[in-house]
Subunit: 353 residues, 2 copies
């Protein structure tokens, strides 16, 4: 599966058909990464190569015409894929993310962890669009317990990241995969299964503290990220974080009041504090399983700049092998579609390495 | 110092002079608890009894006419105390709280912990109001370190709580005082000094999570507080909180998704989680000092309903002796004014018990 540049080959939204024309006769799959605030569509050929990409802000909480029943989903789907489907109406369609939630187009009930790709395939729910196409909605994963966890979309990205490795060599090894973001996920994967996972609301809590508490009032966004301030926050959380995040975050203000942290440094310091608390919490969970961040070979999926912040922070916990996995979403959607029999990949797309 | 009912004897704002007339000829002190969002004024006689109280929303960030330089402070002060001062212009005036911050009427620089009442008195800064009265502004307290801490107003409440005890019997014992609220404080007091203190942004973080994250979207405010849901949150934080608050708070949503927590239970559950994390953090700090919450005899200052929640939560940490101190603000303002020589208390107001 060649992916080089697929993220940047966004189709011109003014005339998507023209740009997609180049490869539409080879189209084998349309896949949607349909979240809360964004929709991304991929068009693949039979070798799993991404021929075209479309992106919009039509997430499920941001649909173009939500007043008409289900019409909002149809309109967003048409806008993203209508031109492709007009030229290739028989191309199968798969979708992952919040589109399968209770607030989505159709509710694709969670499958329970541990879950492998076959479990996801078995949980696919179909919905027929007004244009006649059938969408295959990938379910999310649920982990029961005192602190239940859920994911929607990340399970597909995780299988996309696993798709790169040979099952024979790495399949039995326990792997740790991090997905930084609004609701950061950390998943333990073994033998091609998501064994268990944890959610840290780091991104959303950062935004809420920054925008809706006294901490934000003294902050000024710097021209460029301040790595020193970020690292200072990570280290404080790691070394002085015993009292927990509710206690340490106040220092973003008091270090300012005492002239030790400028207004421009405060956002990165707070970001470092929160990510440091997340990794400290992850370390505590790993310790319970006779494991540790130190020496881990782990993978990160997500926004590159954010993953880079996590790499810097992870090094403070002794973890210097954090590999950024690119195009996990496209790879994962392709992999689940393949496993579901929606596509018969051409020989060169066999996922053996 | 008799305080019974002083909080409820608010003067009728339509005709404050009439209601205050009863005792104005005995007036010995006007004291202001002037915070960010509220202003409360007390009129005392020479025995330290509160003759009248006035309350308004004219906190320093909510002044009536902030467009005129300093006029906002004068206007709010006149509105609160003008009628009293007209009849008793020579009565001394003391004020504590954010009115002494950099954003306040005058900046009363922090005194450094450890700090006793004499240190507060030495740090008093005076400001002359347009009406001719001089306000004596009590400074806040600063504790330096990697995680600096500041308080403004709470120091006066703490000395108000200490004022109840006999110096001879309790003065040398180490005492723990909690002030739940937007920015909860926990202070260690010994020999009449605030030795050190910690700030937990529990109240403000709760509000930010409730109002500005996905957690609030599934919440419905219950008709009355749900103690079971609250306790469940406290226990989860205590027993399963190793991964930290960023991880546990997501369960307010996922327990709802899995049908284990109703919409009406989610607010109290989240409140219990956060207060549980605060107390777990406090316990970790105490452990560093070979101390523990279990068996502590501590005092709580603040809103009664909130302090009651803390008492319930503290019991889960083995602390069953948490005494609610009432009228700590009025007592503290009176005590600092006395120590500053602003009033010469009548014999019956000696603070020996």
């Amino acid at each position: 599966m060649k992916q080089a540049g697929s993220r940047t080959r966004a189709v011109n939204p003014v005339n998507p058909a023209a740009a997609a024309d180049a490869g539409i006769q080879h189209a084998a799959l349309i896949a949607l990464d349909w979240g809360t605030t964004s929709l991304r569509a991929y068009l693949y050929d039979a070798a799993g190569e991404v021929l075209a990409t479309r992106a919009s802000t039509a997430g499920i909480m941001n649909l173009p015409s939500s007043d008409v029943e289900q019409g909002g989903f149809d309109a967003a789907f048409d806008d993203a894929c209508g031109a492709w489907l007009k030229q290739a109406p028989a191309v199968p369609v798969i979708a992952a993310g919040m589109v399968g939630s209770a607030q989505g187009w159709v509710d694709a009930p969670y499958v329970e962890a541990p879950a492998n790709a076959n479990a996801l395939v078995a949980g696919i729910v179909r919905v027929k669009a007004a244009c006649g196409a059938t969408l295959h909605i990938v379910p999310g994963v649920l982990q029961r317990g005192d602190l239940p966890n859920v994911m929607r979309g990340e399970e597909t990205q995780i299988f996309g990241a696993l798709g790169q490795e040979t099952g024979a060599v790495e399949g039995g090894k326990r792997a740790l995969i991090g997905l930084p973001g609004t609701h950061a996920k950390w998943a333990v994967v073994q033998a091609g299964r998501i064994e268990r996972f944890h959610t840290f609301m780091t991104g959303e809590v950062f935004a809420a503290l920054r925008e809706h508490t006294i901490l934000g009032r003294t902050m000024v966004t710097p021209d460029r990220p301040d790595t020193d301030a970020f690292l200072r926050g990570v280290k404080i959380a790691r070394d002085k974080g015993q009292a927990g995040m509710l206690a340490t975050v106040f220092s973003a203000r008091t270090l300012g009041l005492t002239g030790q942290l400028s207004r421009e440094q405060q956002p990165d310091y707070l970001s470092g504090l929160l990510i440091g608390h997340e990794l400290g919490g992850l370390e505590a969970l790993l310790t319970q399983q006779q494991n540790s961040l130190a020496g881990q070979h782990l993978r990160l999926i997500g926004n590159e700049a954010l993953c880079e912040r996590y790499r810097v922070a992870l090094a403070q916990f002794g973890c210097t092998h954090a590999e950024l996995v690119k195009h996990a979403t496209e790879r994962g959607l392709w992999r689940v579609a393949t496993q579901a029999g929606l596509v018969n990949p051409a020989p060169q797309a066999v996922h053996a390495g």
